[in-house]
């Protein structure tokens, strides 16, 4: 479908991510990200015409939180839109901002995702998403051991566990380069065996060390029409295309029959639309919503349309390292920082910073012409973004 006009990302702001941001309230924490995003874009709040806002209400139990947050978002007197889609919310906010600018309704839009998970009960909140009649007794927050069990089943215990731990340590090494990241543990590869044995088990072989954090934090991004973006920014990150796919059921109730994941479906469709035939070659970088190192490892295969053990080899051969052939999450990813309503936006924002060449210490040592960013949420929901360095034609 023909886009009405191009949209560029011209600014990114992030609060510091932490388990406890007790020194700020929600609007104040959001304001940190907003101020940094505006400065990064070289604009003031007066240049912003519309503010897009999102999170997951039941974590903090604030009803329609954009009303209170106007104190920190800068939305006073402006148009606003509030969109949420669970864990994918952050990426959906980017999609919404893209539409608002592409349509011509607005030239400059600010989008904000946030979560202050310390103020609620994250696992209780997530469990509460399950159907009260059919699923809530079975839901265990975000903890699902199935992927670990399936990978062990498919590739053998030793190899699967090694890959998951290698992925985990790789992500921590990336996070150590990102001063906004929440968990920067300073792990080294020689700790792999000890961690695999001693980290507390959550569900089966899904251990504490594999799992994402729960964080407080906010992310803000500034979007502009092609004309404005070119005037305001030397190198915007352009939104080439995006796709959203939802699926209610997470497994096949008839046994082990393979289930088409929304990740693979969305990637296949997006790549088809954008003429990408070999994603590993044509895409320079991937910011993935990886809730655990088991899911991160497994989902590489889905997003890159790989078969067999190609995804394990990518991890084993250090291809996903910041200086590897296909860098994944140079920011440290979700395992390092996870303020849920912001998390999926951070993926797009970090991919954008890499395209813009403004990722600082975790900038990959190559030109990023095309970057992929994913959001994950709900039961099995995917949002996938493709950003480019060149203006999309």
């Amino acid at each position: 479908m023909k886009k009405n006009r191009n949209v560029g990302i011209i600014g990114v702001g992030q609060s510091v991510y932490s388990s406890h941001r007790e020194e700020v309230n929600q609007p104040e924490m959001i304001n940190e990200a907003v101020v940094e995003a505006l400065e990064s874009a070289g604009v003031t709040i007066d240049d912003v015409e519309c503010i897009v806002h999102g999170n997951m209400e039941l974590f903090e139990m604030i009803h329609q939180p954009d009303l209170w947050h106007v104190l920190g978002t800068g939305a006073y007197g402006k148009e606003t839109l509030r969109v949420t889609t669970g864990g994918t919310t952050g990426a959906t906010l980017v999609a919404a901002a893209d539409h608002l600018v592409a349509s011509g309704l607005h030239d400059v839009v600010l989008a904000i995702g946030f979560e202050k998970l310390q103020e609620g009960h994250t696992t209780g909140g997530i469990t509460n998403m399950a159907d009260p009649l059919w699923g809530r007794q079975l839901q265990t927050g975000a903890l699902t051991g199935m992927t670990a069990a399936q990978m062990i089943d498919e590739f053998g215990e030793e190899r699967a566990k090694k890959v998951a731990m290698k992925y985990r340590i790789q992500m921590d090494q990336h996070a150590m380069k990102n001063n906004k990241a929440h968990r920067r543990l300073g792990l080294s590869p020689d700790q792999a065996e000890e961690l695999a044995e001693n980290s507390p088990q959550l569900v089966g072989e899904l251990r504490m060390i594999h799992m994402c954090s729960q964080s407080d934090g906010a992310c803000a991004m500034v979007f502009a029409s092609e004309e404005k973006a070119k005037a305001l920014c030397d190198q915007p990150a352009w939104i080439k295309d995006h796709i959203t796919a939802h699926r209610e059921e997470m497994f096949c109730i008839f046994g082990d029959a393979p289930v088409l994941s929304t990740h693979r479906y969305a990637a296949r469709k997006l790549f088809g639309r954008c003429g990408i035939t070999n994603p590993r070659e044509e895409i320079d970088l991937f910011e993935m919503y990886d809730p655990s190192s088991w899911w991160g490892s497994d989902w590489l295969r889905e997003f890159l349309l790989l078969e067999g053990d190609a995804h394990l080899k990518m991890i084993e051969n250090d291809e996903i390292a910041i200086d590897g052939a296909f860098p994944v999450n140079p920011s440290g990813g979700v395992i390092a920082s996870n303020p849920i309503g912001a998390t999926a936006m951070v993926r797009v924002a970090e991919a954008a910073l890499q395209v813009m060449g403004r990722a600082g210490d975790h900038q990959v040592p190559k030109t990023v012409n095309q970057a992929l960013a994913s959001g994950f949420g709900g039961t099995m929901w995917t949002v996938l973004f493709l950003l480019t360095r060149e203006v999309p034609s």
């Binding site: 329609q64 509030r82 539409h99 592409a102 699926r247």
Partner: protein, 382 residues
Amino acid sequence: MARRVGICAVAQTTYQRDKWHERFQGMALEVLEPLLAQTGLDFSEDKGIGMSISVSDDIFDARTISDNGMTDVLGAHMRCEEKIAQEGIQALYYGLAAIQGGHVDTALVLGHCKESQGQSRNMVTHMAFDPFYTRPVGLDFTAAAGLQAQAYADRSDVGDTHLADIVARAGRMAQLNPATPEAPVLTREEVLASPMLADPIRAHHAYPVSDGAVGMILAAEETALAICDHPVWITGVGNCMDSFFLGDRDLASNFALKQAAARAYQRAGIDQPRDRFDVVEVSDQFAYQQPMWMEGLGLVDEGCGGAWIAGGGPDAMNVNRSGGMLAGNPLILGGLVRAAEVALQLMGLAGERQVADARRGLAHGVMGPAGQFHSVAILERD
């Protein structure tokens, strides 16, 4: 110039006090099926509906990700669904952007809410207040409305009798609207005798608790003309956020509504809004809001809402022929139901309450304490 976007189909459930026999999904299905039947659309991969925009609220639903569990009935299996977690009329704003931006040609809009689920909706709106300064005071949207109603009463000529007449008229209007079967017919005296809820708001001045769902199909011009004989074009949208703390605001000033309306008029190319609308639907959650919002929209002289009511203004200007929000629909769906009603009028499908030859209408939604956020949509037919 971006392409035109039309509303091609409208459907809604009835709005009733307690649909104990139906779940969210059941209500949504009751809306989805007629929308598909009216347009002949489906969810097939290439030619199906491009995206689904839902409207619901996690806290009213008491469920994290209130669109989770709705996926299948929203046609979102392997498809795009995004939730407006704001006043429902914002789904039109968003659908307009997504279609004009070129991302999709068609969008399903579908909102649901069951206000009956909570012991009190005030428990929900109480949670909209910040936990440090305003929540401990015990504020909720009803209490905040009371403060605004008092401020408006001081500033305007609207008194208790006017408010009673608004409620009585809403009940009469609702008798012609099949979506509001439970709306009572009340006399002026009955309303005047009802107890105070949040002075000067009386119990009968408040919109009733209800459950229900409402939906539409939006489409880009070419598709709209192919699937619908009488598309209703979204020609203007506008919204505005006011500040949060009630003490920071002039509660009777209509600041946000004036801004929202000015933006919608500007986009629709309307210089002087007076007498330009054949039908108007405003979200009157409380009786005082009907004249107050009409003033904010620039359709009634400021401070003269009382004279407008006494002079038969609502009938003359076809305001809330549906019965309005006072006849019942859930809070978060208010503006979306108003837009659905205007679309039905412009399509000539409003049955016994049809306004003859209606060509242009205005729909209004409001959210937040004392009207902190307003959203306006202008709809027209060719």
